[in-house]
Subunit: 359 residues, 3 copies
């Protein structure tokens, strides 16, 4: 019998510490969704939204929570954290393509650059003076790494990434196409009706295991460095201003904007299109929902929001018009009541204690 | 008599099915605005905002609605859809520059790539293994097309575009500079206080006649594909997350953000900076006005909004402070009234029926 | 005695017109923050937020306002505009690196392009037919300058910048990586349920002393040009639509979106993530705070806002739900009062005069 493709459920259970409910000799060779899986596929259930597909799945095996074992019509790998277990299995089944070490003939590399012999430098890459590229790192086609930049080991710049002078990147980072690290911060001094450019002389320091999405930009510091902590994950199209500091294992969703000198704690979750003003502090373990505006520091972990959800435009416009007169309306109602209305207690809370405070 | 430049009004009328009011032998050779047109120019009136310029125009001919024919001081081409007719005339007068087929000497092309003989591959382009480029397509300077990507016929990547592995693009598409298609989606599994990367193994499938604006990013799917329908038009700086699906002929304005697994219907119009949350559905023919947040599914065609328009900052801040206490204020007023106030009917609507609903 | 490094405080005072309080022979050679400066460093105090660090600074000299002279524990350079003075000193101490004129061997330059002999064209650059590059300008690695574009003197395209055909850039501009100038505007004519592309035949004209941040995009005009005035400063990830006009010395922060045909005055300050609708006018000297939406013209200088700041999510959601019924609630309260309530004066302001008005 020739070698069978894929991997057996028994081996998956052992390798990833799951309890297997089903046939240990069954083999799977790819991943699929619950809905579209076939018998050679492994799938998973983590988001309760997709629970409805479980009963009809035709997967070879489903990675799921032990509590759902009985509802699974096929083999099951029971895991405390099904999504993480699925991620590990998927990585095993679909390993990153091997990259050949070496320098493409069209790469333009300054003589003083230090490129590890195991690194791969792609076509049309430009690498500046004294730049360093670590072991097994990949500098994909069209990337530009300017003078004195330093890239750690096992880091991958996929394509058309720009790393400006003096930027430091850690190990095992992934930077997607269009990323720009270390462009000048937006430093301007008003001067007689015009704006004077303030030299931006800090760099950007990025820790280990950081992923940076397509077209995200992180500016260099004005004097000291902009700092991105270990394990930070940034989605696409994010803007991070000069001297911002992002704490370890914080994740930021697409199109968010972090202004200069903002300090964000560890393990925060910042939603898409969130705006964070400059020169403020957000403590650890804060969650900001999508499109919110943070204009003052947050000192207490928790969930924060400020974006109204859509309504029918006609009704929304009426409410928005009322909002323009809200302060006057409240004053009017309270004045009525205190002069001739039914209540004289005056005990209305004039303002609610702020969850945030000014710096 | 030498050949005259331009094209006669008579020919324009015949070619585009308009009624001509004026001299069929008059010739026009370029387009211009109503305000600045001269006698050799064709212009149009479609936006009522510019109606005020009509009476003074010096254009050779104006394309406009038959209802405005009498107000036009110069020759008129009467069309049911003046803007579309203008677009066709402009395309005729200003055709796209001819591109020479062939491969620039500096292009780096894997041997297994299949480039149609009529396609044009520009300088410093990189094309990966098994990638396909269709007939008459143009891959502009600095573009990167990674392994197994497939680009249809008559499609144009202007410059510095990145197409990641396995992405499929249809015919007659235009992708502007800085576009990134098929970067990894933002798939992360929480794992003991850190984030584990979830392999992103789907691709992106883009239909025919799709235009994608500068620096827009569309992520590849996690397991299945991200899908952009035929005729979709995307403005600049848009972010589209993994496994989103955009229906045919939907248009999205600049800087909008579409989260992962959002499903958007056909013929929708999504305004600039709109945010759409993940894992929701928007039906066909929905219009979302600029900067709105869609956080739950929309099942009814119509107009939706959620962004307050600017007010003077001082007044806005007072109203925003009142907003923080709005729920308490409403409770307070209703309690007053039900205990000692003028009304006991209790028939106030506590909540308005939502136009949107949770998935 | 060998030449000492740096520059003496006496010389700084003379050169920049400051009053020196301290030792004129003391020398400084670098810049630093108030907090981390040492005796060889010059620092400054401009933002009152950092006033608290002044008393403990170990800087060689602090540039600050004369009113704070007595609070400064070290030498002081007293200046009316400390931040601008600091910017000039920093520029003196950290001059931009010298760039060697010439064309890198890998640059692909059309024969008809006119490159000044003092300009520097980097590796993997592409320059199109009839393009012009002025004196001492730098076209960094990976930049693409398409046909007929014109770049003035002393202008710097750092890396991976795309300048489309016919774009005109002035003198002393700086464009950061990923910038795209002159991609097609988002011009579409609805046509029987589909969208017809409207040719974009204008260009972009950019004045002198303009800085454009990483990944910012400025679209070419539809018929006439998009225009960016002298001294305009644009942060990262900004989108500017076709035919917008930005007045001189206006600054725009990151991720803002300016729709097509918007006209913005001089010396305006537009905050991060602000959205400005199309076909409207904003007068000179307007300040828009972050994440606001401008949907109609502003004719009076001043401060404008519309973004609610974050609150705890639970409370925010309650208030947002009340907002959906705000118009009905106000009507209900007023009706109560006018029929049986304590007040019959009816003199409540039903609407506040708008600060903005429709075009």
């Amino acid at each position: 019998m020739p070698a069978q493709p894929g991997i057996s459920l028994g081996e998956l259970a052992v390798r990833f510490g799951c309890t297997l409910k089903g046939d240990p000799d069954l083999r799977v060779s790819r991943v699929a969704t619950l809905e579209n899986a076939d018998g050679a596929s492994v799938t998973f259930l983590a988001n309760p939204r997709y629970r409805r597909y479980l009963g009809r799945t035709k997967a070879g095996v489903v990675v799921l929570d032990p509590a759902l074992a009985d509802a699974c019509p096929v083999s099951a790998l029971l895991a405390k954290n099904p999504y993480a277990t699925y991620a590990r299995i998927a990585t095993l089944l679909h390993p990153a393509p091997l990259v050949m070490p070496g320098r493409h003939a069209t790469a333009v590399i300054e003589e003083s650059a230090q490129i590890d012999a195991t690194a791969a430098v792609g076509p049309h890459v430009v690498i500046g003076a004294r730049a360093k590229i670590g072991a097994r790192s990949v500098i994909g086609p069209g990337c530009v790494v300017l003078d004195d930049a330093s890239i750690g080991d096992d880091t991958r710049l996929t394509a058309n990434v720009t790393i400006c002078q003096g930027v430091v990147l850690g190990d095992r980072c992934v930077l997607h196409p269009g990323v720009v690290i270390g462009a000048d911060g937006f430093g301007l001094a008003p001067d007689q009706g015009e704006w004077l450019k303030v030299p931006q002389m800090g760099a950007v320091r990025i820790g280990n295991d950081v992923e940076i999405g397509a077209s995200t930009t992180i500016d260099r510091g004005a004097i000291e460095d902009t700092v991105i902590g270990d394990g930070v994950k940034l989605d696409n199209q994010i803007q991070i201003g000069h001297n911002a500091r992002i704490g370890e294992h914080t994740v930021i969703a697409g199109s968010a904007g972090i202004s200069g000198s903002a300090v964000i704690g560890r393990r925060c979750m910042i939603g898409g299109q969130v705006g964070i003003a400059g020169h403020l502090t957000i403590c650890d373990d804060v969650v900001i929902t999508g499109q919110s505006l943070v204009s003052s520091s947050i000192r207490k972990p928790g969930y924060y929001s400020s974006a109204l959800p859509v309504d029918e435009s006609t009704r929304f416009r009426k409410n928005a018009a009322r909002f323009r007169g809200l302060d006057e309306f409240v004053r009017e109602v309270r004045k009525q009541r205190s002069t001739g209305g039914a209540s004289q207690d005056g005990a209305h809370p004039d303002d609610n204690g702020p969850a945030t405070d000014e710096e």
